[in-house]
């Protein structure tokens, strides 16, 4: 069933409205069930023993005393998770991170786990597990880890992407390079050059719900996992691979998810819970403490970035270069590469070169955090762009407009762009009242642009028309920010029925075909495409049923405004058949009516945003207050505008926290000093003003309704927008994120000394 994903512009009836979300009542009454809200009869409580050392060889683990303690039903170590990854490096990294096999690679790395009848017994049992560690030198800083004399974390890592292939192991796992043209020639032709180095500290997604699951392995090889996750199908695959279970026998149910932002795209304790359940022969509930979430889930990278941009007097950029060093934790991945790809993505450049270095350190395994790697690269590049604008003496927005990418531009990471929204967001920023509002004492305004790729991927949906004509929609992408409402609007639009007559649910892995991880802002984009396809499939079935009911050829029947209609004058007396009427006869016309879609949603289309921020800096204490904030971003088509605004506001708030206060603080002992919400400071209600949003709609040609992904781009500009605002407020160029009060005050003192 070929599906035409091409954009057809038409007047929307449901899409673009703001109905109440179907999961709203459960969430405001406390009935919605999140990861930790599920229990099974006879379940045990699990606790994990974690390494207190940043880097240590595990010489010996003695679990005898723990296993002998009354009430303990199972104790597992790496020995209970045999390596079934047969050469798949990425899978082995997941396995080793779930339970250390030979070395503890960071403070918090799991080394053993216990399942007991209650929490107190489990805690007591942890104390009885004896682990003999051989301490090894550690390194947590990205630049220090790259020095020749730094301790080498993994002697099987040889830098890839360099020629000739090195013989000695290194903490630099990979070098990646992107770009085109000749940057040296570009810099030679420049009238002005800005060159500066930037650092950003490691931050965490900060979801309020800690990871939680209930796992149950039966003796017949079947298993159940109830878990808060952004991708229950991928969790099923990971867990099945690591535990040697058959995929179809492991059912994973996605609970309501209490925030993810990329941090719940990766299994942390779920395989351990399954292993404990298999060993104990009883269900096991494993809930992470907040301290464990900080120490042992997947924060983003800490970075160190050098940027050099050259431009002519008229503002045209002649050369742009960035060298980006990203930590990946103990296991290398693509984080530096993503940084290198996104850094100059907003711009149309003749000569550009970006080089990324993926660096392993003794920190937790990095996972995606909302447009992973992009906010740090944008901070460096957009700060340098602002400094360049000052040097040339041109307005910051004009400098962007002069160099902005547009349709047909060859991107800095390679491919040519289709129709993109950066130009319109810049123009909207220029004419936005915020841009011309007056500023008070010690206040400054900054702006910045941001970009994210967005993805499609494997998606499927089931749409069932019930006997009363109402519709059940089952999707496989997880709903955190209101996508059940958006997808119901999509189904209502395509079927031509009322939003109230549709109920969308997230299906578990046993009742729906495989769906990729809900990442890359693909939730609404991909599932809406699959839902439209399923709806069109259902419409064809209903047209056939109408043909049977009227006893006329199906080709003479067309679908309009939720009704089967007979085309042509010869059927003048046939009044249109509604979904309700067709459904009522389904028992006689062929059985239940449904529409299915199994597809690869592609052509997601990139998403651009421009942010404007006013800050007030207290020059005597270095404290920064966000006075005003505006987000302007292209959504292609805002299906449910309230929740598109919610993505813009939420991304901005995370960016504000990252820019001003959030950071992983490590002691000299390589231990995380602030694993808690008291000293890992995310913004509180009284820290922020109202966050204004402006949704632009430049249709995505590869989606029937023009929809683009919106979820990740909002976090990309804030670091730079705030840094530029602080610089314009008190005249110091901050190059280290977060711009905490001690850092700003030190910079002011240095500036005062001249």
């Amino acid at each position: 069933m070929s599906f035409d994903a091409g954009y057809q512009s038409h007047k929307f009836k449901s899409v673009g409205t703001r109905p109440l979300r179907p999961d709203g009542v459960d969430k405001v009454t406390g009935r919605a069930r999140y990861g930790a809200d599920f229990n099974m009869p006879g379940q045990l409580v699990a606790r994990v023993l974690r390494s207190p050392h940043a880097h240590a060889r595990i010489v010996r683990i003695d679990t005898a005393k723990a296993e002998a303690l009354k009430g303990v039903k199972a104790v597992v170590t790496a020995a209970d998770l045999p390596d079934l990854t047969n050469g798949d490096g990425a899978l082995f990294a997941i396995l080793d991170n779930c339970m250390a096999r030979t070395k503890a690679m960071y403070d918090g790395h799991a080394v053993a786990a216990v399942a007991a009848i209650d929490e107190n017994v489990a805690k007591a049992a942890l104390k009885l597990i004896e682990v003999e560690y051989e301490l090894l030198p550690h390194v947590v800083d990205v630049d220090a880890a790259m020095q020749a004399d730094a301790p080498v974390l993994n002697d099987t890592i040889f830098t890839t992407g360099v020629d000739p292939k090195p013989e000695t192991p290194s903490n630099i796992a990979n070098r990646s390079e992107f770009g085109h043209g000749d940057v040296d020639a570009g810099f030679a032709a420049a009238d002005f050059i800005v060159e500066r180095s930037y650092k950003t500290e490691q931050t965490h997604q900060g979801y309020i719900e800690p990871h939680a699951c209930v796992a149950n392995c039966n003796s017949d090889g079947s298993a159940d996992l109830w878990v808060c996750t952004q991708g229950h199908f991928v969790y099923r695959q990971n867990c099945a691979d690591l535990l040697g279970l058959e995929v179809s026998k492991l059912r994973v149910t996605s609970s309501e998810i209490g925030g993810g932002f990329g941090g719940k795209t990766h299994v942390w304790t779920e395989p351990v819970a399954l292993a404990l359940s298999r060993k104990a022969g009883r269900p096991v509930k494993l809930v992470m403490s907040r301290e464990e979430v900080f120490r042992a889930s997947g924060p983003t990278s800490a970075t160190s970035i050098d940027v050099k941009i050259g431009a002519r007097k008229d503002g045209k950029i002649t050369g742009a270069m960035a060298t980006l060093r990203y930590t990946s934790g103990p296991y290398p991945d693509m984080w530096a590469e993503l940084g290198a790809m996104t850094s100059f993505a907003c711009y149309d450049l003749e000569n550009v070169k970006t080089v990324g270095f993926e660096v392993v350190v003794n920190r937790p395994k990095v996972a995606a955090y909302r447009a992973p790697s992009a906010p740090m690269a944008a901070f460096a590049v957009e700060s340098a762009m602002d400094e360049l604008a000052h040097k040339i003496g041109v307005n910051a927005v004009d400098l962007r407009v002069m160099n902005a990418a547009s349709e047909g531009t060859k991107s800095s990471y390679g491919p040519v762009y289709g129709p993109i929204g950066i130009g319109p967001t810049l123009e909207a920023a220029q004419s936005h009242p915020h841009m011309s509002a007056p500023l008070g004492k010690n206040q400054g305004r900054g702006m910045a642009c941001g970009f994210w790729f967005n993805f499609g991927g494997q998606t499927c949906s089931d749409l069932n028309v019930n006997a009363d004509g109402t519709v059940g929609l089952a999707v496989g992408t997880v709903d955190v920010g209101g996508s059940r409402a958006s997808l119901s609007l999509i189904a209502a639009e395509e079927l031509g029925i009322d939003y109230q007559d549709i109920k969308a649910v997230i299906a578990d892995t046993a009742t729906l075909g495989y769906n990729d991880m809900t990442d890359g802002s693909r939730g609404t984009f991909s599932s809406s495409m699959a839902t439209i396809s399923a709806a069109r499939n259902a419409i064809d079935v209903m047209r056939a049923r109408a043909a049977l009911m009227w006893d006329i050829p199906v080709d003479d029947i067309y679908w309009e405004e939720g009704h089967a209609k007979a085309a042509g004058s010869k059927y003048g007396n046939l009044s249109p058949l509604s979904v309700k009427e067709i459904a009522a006869e389904s028992g006689n016309t062929g059985g239940p009516i449904a529409g299915h879609s199994e597809m690869i949603a592609d052509g997601a289309g990139v998403s651009f945003g421009t942010h404007i921020c006013d800050v007030e800096v207290d020059p005597e204490t270095g404290s920064t207050r966000i006075v005003r904030y505006t987000v302007i971003q292209d959504a292609g088509k805002a299906v449910h505008p309230s929740y598109v605004e919610g993505q813009y506001q939420g991304g901005a708030a995370q960016g504000i926290g990252w820019a001003l206060n959030e950071e992983y603080v490590y002691g000299d002992d390589g231990r995380l000093q602030n694993p808690g919400f008291l000293d890992y400071r995310i913004p509180v209600c009284s820290d922020l003003p109202m966050i204004d949003t402006q949704i632009l709609e430049i249709p995505n040609p590869n989606h029937p309704y023009g929809v683009r992904g919106v979820g990740e781009t909002p976090i990309v500009p804030p670091l730079a927008a705030i840094a530029n605002a602080v610089s314009n407020a008190v005249g110091v160029r901050m190059s280290h994120i977060p711009m905490s009060p001690p850092r700003i005050l030190a910079a002011l003192n240095d500036a005062a000394k001249g």
């Binding site: 805690k123 942890l126 104390k127 403490s289 005597e620 204490t621 270095g622 404290s623 207050r625 001003l660 206060n661 603080v665 000093q673 602030n674 008291l678 000293d679 400071r681 913004p683 509180v684 209600c685 009284s686 820290d687 905490s740 009060p741 001690p742 005050l745 030190a746 003192n749």
Partner: protein, 287 residues
Amino acid sequence: MRYERPETIQAATTLLAEAQDSVFVLAGGTDLLVRMQRDDFEAELVVDIKSIAGITDVIETDDSFVIGAAVSCAALGEHAALRAAWPGVVEAANLIGSTQIQGRCTVVGNLCNASPAADSVPALIAAGAQARIVGPNGTRTVPVEEVPTGPGKTSLAKGEMIDAIVIAKPEPKSGDSYLRFTPRTEMDIAVVGASVHLVLDDAGTVKTARVALGAVGPKVLVSQEAAQSIIGTTLDAAALDALATVCSAASTPIDDKRGTVDFRKQVAGVLARRAALIAFERAGGTQ
């Protein structure tokens, strides 16, 4: 761990005296229960004092306020007379934690937790508050600054507890204030705290003053020299600069995850100056 809820002071102090191993007093619990989450926490007995008659009352006598040990900071903030008399003490108490913490935490708990960064302690000290300590062998009253002896340590003997804070009513033409520095606008532990209490003479110049700084040493720092720098002045620029310089010099903070030595020393001076101005204004002083 055992939980007891005595209804009289005597019963409470007896329980505290008889406990062999570690014993804790529970009033608001907002520090104690956080400590209990840690795996290394051990306690034989927790004594919940909230059922002791009168312990949750604020009593105004003709010359003082008697704040019961289990009065929540939220309740303190709602006591109009105390707020009018000692605005600095009340604003310090109301800065602790969040609305939810305010509904439980107490100034006595804040004092006995003995954190160098406690919010209410500098203001209590600047106000000259007294701690009424009860124990197996009777009651004694000491200035508040004598209770904390170092981070997490107090001078209370075994079996002793504080059952009230007593603050004398302020002299006429006096004012107090408390300011703290936190990176966020709420929910933070003070990186630096500064409290100033001063009394003006008839001419409107500072007659007496007390300056107390938090989070700049193992205990709250009471600086006589800082007080001297503003006595006899109407807080002109020179006096304020002297106050700031003295406070920065007197501070002996540490580097930690919340702030650096330089930052704390510099901001201690800034907050002391700003707090002095507020106290001066509240005392009726004019610049």
